[in-house]
């Protein structure tokens, strides 16, 4: 059990910095992993976060400077659609939670190689900063589905970004059901700084409804599943996971309908441009 004062002190840091995760988020395996693998004096639940966050400083710098560049590229679009909400940057989850990072490293370490296949490219405490692609990230939350397209197009076509980064893009918005693992829908861009290979940043572009769903799913399903993998039957006896998945589909229908309404409202001028 954690000492109460430790939890209080830790909570202060958590609240103030909005960065560290609550030690209660850690599974027993994670705690054991921290005690055995994180170097002294950071090998405790109250201090491992410092060890992790210190290594993410450069990611945070990349996040700040990329956000500033993205803001510049969004400015003309926001001006163009100034008569309504177009999009906004959400930086509330810029850094991957240290607890998630530990969890991911631990799983990677435990991953068994499959017969006949090469050894998996495992993460450890030394190389995770160059292996994980979502350590630094931010979202661009758009109003309509077509706004997501416009923002994504702007990202693809901005020289300042394409010159600085190798960009990989993955879209889960228009994915066929057979290819879909979860209800998440977004255009995900993984940026790797050309000058510093291994330094990644992730930008997710999505609608407000998609983000709303994701925030709820993260709390209701994702975190539960991370702590207790392969135990869906036990942790979701009420089929909460299935309900959340279905809700994502419903919201996609809503987004699609809103898009149709927008086209009617904004009239031919904007629709012609989109063509």
């Amino acid at each position: 059990m954690l000492d109460k004062t430790v939890v209080q002190r830790y909570s202060c840091t958590t609240v103030l910095l909005n960065k560290m995760s609550n030690p209660m988020d850690l599974s027993d395996e994670d705690r054991k992993f921290i005690a055995e693998n994180v170097p002294h004096p950071y090998n405790s639940v109250e201090r491992y976060g410092e060890f992790i966050l210190r290594k993410l400083q450069i990611h945070d710098v990349l996040c700040t400077t990329t956000m500033a560049t993205v803001k510049k590229l969004l400015a003309p679009l926001k001006k163009r659609y100034g008569h309504r909400f177009f999009c906004d940057i959400d930086d509330s989850n810029r850094q991957k939670n240290p607890a998630s990072i530990i969890d991911k490293i631990r799983r990677s370490q435990a991953e068994k190689s499959k017969p006949g296949e090469p050894e998996p490219d495992r993460c450890d405490l030394n190389n995770f900063t160059t292996k994980m692609t979502d350590l630094a990230r931010f979202r661009i939350v758009c109003n309509f589905l077509s706004d997501v397209d416009k923002v994504s197009k702007a990202i693809r076509n901005t020289e300042e970004l394409t010159n600085a980064f190798n960009i990989k893009e993955e879209s889960t918005i228009y994915l066929r059901p057979k290819n879909r693992k979860s209800g998440e829908r977004s255009n995900k861009f993984v940026f790797e700084l050309k000058d510093q290979p291994g330094l990644f940043l992730e930008i997710q572009v999505m609608t407000q409804l998609q983000e709303a769903w994701d925030k709820k799913d993260h709390f209701l399903v994702y975190e539960q599943r991370r702590k207790f993998p392969d135990k869906d039957e036990e942790i979701f006896p009420d089929f909460l996971d299935a309900k959340m998945f279905s809700t994502a589909e419903l919201l996609f229908v809503a987004d699609d309908y809103f898009e149709w309404l927008r086209k009617k409202r904004e009239g031919t001028k904007f629709n012609e441009e989109e063509k």
């Binding site: 202060c12 840091t13 609240v15 103030l16 910095l17 909005n18 960065k19 966050l53 400083q57 450069i58 945070d60 710098v61 990349l62 996040c63 700040t64 400077t65 990329t66 956000m67 500033a68 560049t69 803001k71 510049k72 940057i89 959400d90 930086d91 509330s92 810029r94 630094a136 931010f138 300042e160 970004l161 600085a164």
Partner: protein
């Protein structure tokens, strides 16, 4: 130099959090324009983290990316916004992108000390008080240390070096068990004035009420209006005029009988003595009489300590009139000028407070234009630059130089140099041609890098017709015009005053 861009909202926040009390936090926000600033931002964070090592015991440090600083409260509600300062990256980077550690350290220190206001203000000529009392931390400590050991002191420095501000700081921050009375002797012209001004000083402060003669302390004059205070002093004037030594002796004896110690600070002693010295021999005798009496009084006093503040060359000035200063019992404290690094930090802080971004080459140019960074003139230059920069939004190196020549040395700034005229007028008391002699020396110094010591003596002799008073004038010029002698060469240390004299002094008035 240019006005800071206050519109940029995306940037990086460097946060310092007290380990003891987490609500005690301060931060620096650096707006960022885009990916092109990646290396600069990284350098800044590494630099601040390095500086932070010195404060590690009390604070935690963390960087935080911020999409919109206007919405900071939503992301980091516990950040103390009143202690968040905005800077630009280039304010802490040299031209070749090296981190300027001194600037970072000074601003962290001022934040930790909770200096208020955090940035020194521009107040040319005014007493530097509070956080405007800049970089004189060691001096008060040193002075109190010596006073505690029972020493009496003489604080010596040329004009406008900040003697009065230092003495004011000491009088406002006494050690436990001490009362302090700050006596400004400027305007005094006699021994009687010396006593009267001391009385004036004592009635100003509540804590010094007990030091007054009983007939006055019952009146509690510190409570009274300035007019009434003046009336009380006027009533005592007759007694002082009758026998100033007896009056002062009784006052000092009374103070000696009190429990707490009294520190008597006599500011502008040089002015009093200069004004007392006239062409008549008996005036010199009066100065001698005062100095002998005062020396005896210092030796006799057990509960009173003294600080005399005067020009750098007070002893040699007195000597040139054949006056024995009787100052040997006093330990000398020299108030040095800002070191150039301190002057750079001061410029950075003052302009940062005005929301102006200044780079090192611009600061270096300012200091090169001025010569010695005499606080008063440095403040004048900063005042002008911040005003011009606010008008034009940015100033190039050429424009800074232009502001120096056209604004600082220009006709509009003439009032700031009025004291030079007053100083020159004072010189007439040393002889009919003394002023002309001093002006001729300054003329020569203004148009030459330096001149030989013997040569200025010749100039003096030619203009005044004799060698008399040359030594006195030499001492006065060193204090008033920052003239220095080195290896028998004499020169201006303040390039600003040299330039000013070249432009305004060489007007053929002689």
């Amino acid at each position: 130099m240019r006005l800071r861009d206050e519109n940029q909202k995306t940037g990086h926040l460097l946060i310092f959090i007290s380990k003891e009390e987490r609500a005690n936090n301060f931060s620096f926000f650096f707006p960022v324009g885009g990916l092109e600033e990646f290396d600069s931002l990284l350098k800044i964070i590494e630099g601040f983290e390095h500086c932070f090592q010195g404060f590690k015991n009390g604070y935690e440090f963390i960087g935080n990316s911020v999409a919109d600083i206007g919405r900071l409260e939503e992301i980091l509600p516990e950040i103390d916004k009143s202690r968040m300062l905005r800077f630009e990256l280039e304010e802490f980077l040299t031209e070749d992108s090296q981190f300027i550690e001194n600037f970072a350290k000074i601003i962290i220190e001022r934040q930790i000390k909770k200096e208020s206001p955090i940035f020194p203000s521009i107040r040319p000529g005014a007493m530097a008080t509070g956080s405007n009392f800049y970089d004189r931390n060691k001096e008060p400590e040193e002075i109190w240390g010596r006073l505690q050991k029972g020493k009496n002191l003489i604080l010596r420095a040329p004009r406008r070096y900040g003697k009065s501000s230092l003495l004011n700081y000491i009088s406002e921050n006494p050690l436990t068990g001490w009362r302090v009375c700050h006596v400004d002797l400027e305007g005094g012209k006699s021994s009687e004035d010396f006593v009267e001004y001391t009385l004036k000083g004592l009635i100003q402060r509540q804590e010094c009420n007990v030091c007054l003669p009983e007939c006055l302390s019952v009146l509690e004059p510190w409570k009274e209006s300035e007019r009434n205070k003046l009336g009380i002093v006027r009533n005592e004037r007759k007694k002082i005029r009758e026998n100033w030594q007896e009056y002062a002796g009784a006052m000092f004896n009374h103070i000696d009988s009190l429990e707490d110690k009294l520190l008597l600070i006599f500011d502008e002693v040089s002015f009093l003595l200069e004004d007392m010295i006239g062409p008549k021999v008996q005036d010199k005798n009066k100065v001698n009489e005062l100095m002998i009496w005062f020396c005896e009084a210092r030796k006799k006093a057990k509960k009173i300590s003294f600080i005399l503040s005067g020009s750098e060359h007070l002893p040699s000035f007195l000597e040139s009139f054949g006056i024995e200063g009787h100052l040997d019992d006093l330990e000398t404290v020299h108030l040095a000028l800002f070191e150039s690094q301190v002057a750079r930090e001061f410029v950075f802080l003052v302009l940062a407070g005005k929301k102006i971004v200044i780079r090192l080459p611009e600061i270096n140019l300012m200091l090169a234009l001025m010569g010695d960074p005499i606080p008063y003139f440095l403040q004048l230059f900063l005042d002008i630059l911040s005003r011009v920069c606010a008008e034009k939004r940015s100033l190039s190196l050429e424009q800074i130089e232009k502001a120096y020549h056209q604004e600082l040395l220009g006709p509009e700034s003439k009032r700031y140099f009025e004291t030079i005229q007053l100083q020159l007028e004072r010189y007439s008391r040393y002889g009919e041609r003394s002023r002309a002699g001093a002006e001729s020396i300054l003329d020569e110094l203004a148009v030459n890098e330096s001149i030989g010591r013997k040569d200025i003596e010749v100039i003096w002799q030619e203009v005044t017709g004799s060698k008399e008073r040359f030594e006195a004038m030499r001492s006065i010029l060193q204090d008033d015009f920052y003239i220095k002698e080195d290896k028998d060469r004499v020169f201006f240390t303040s390039k600003l005053l040299k330039d000013w004299w070249e432009r305004h002094g060489l007007a053929g008035k002689r």
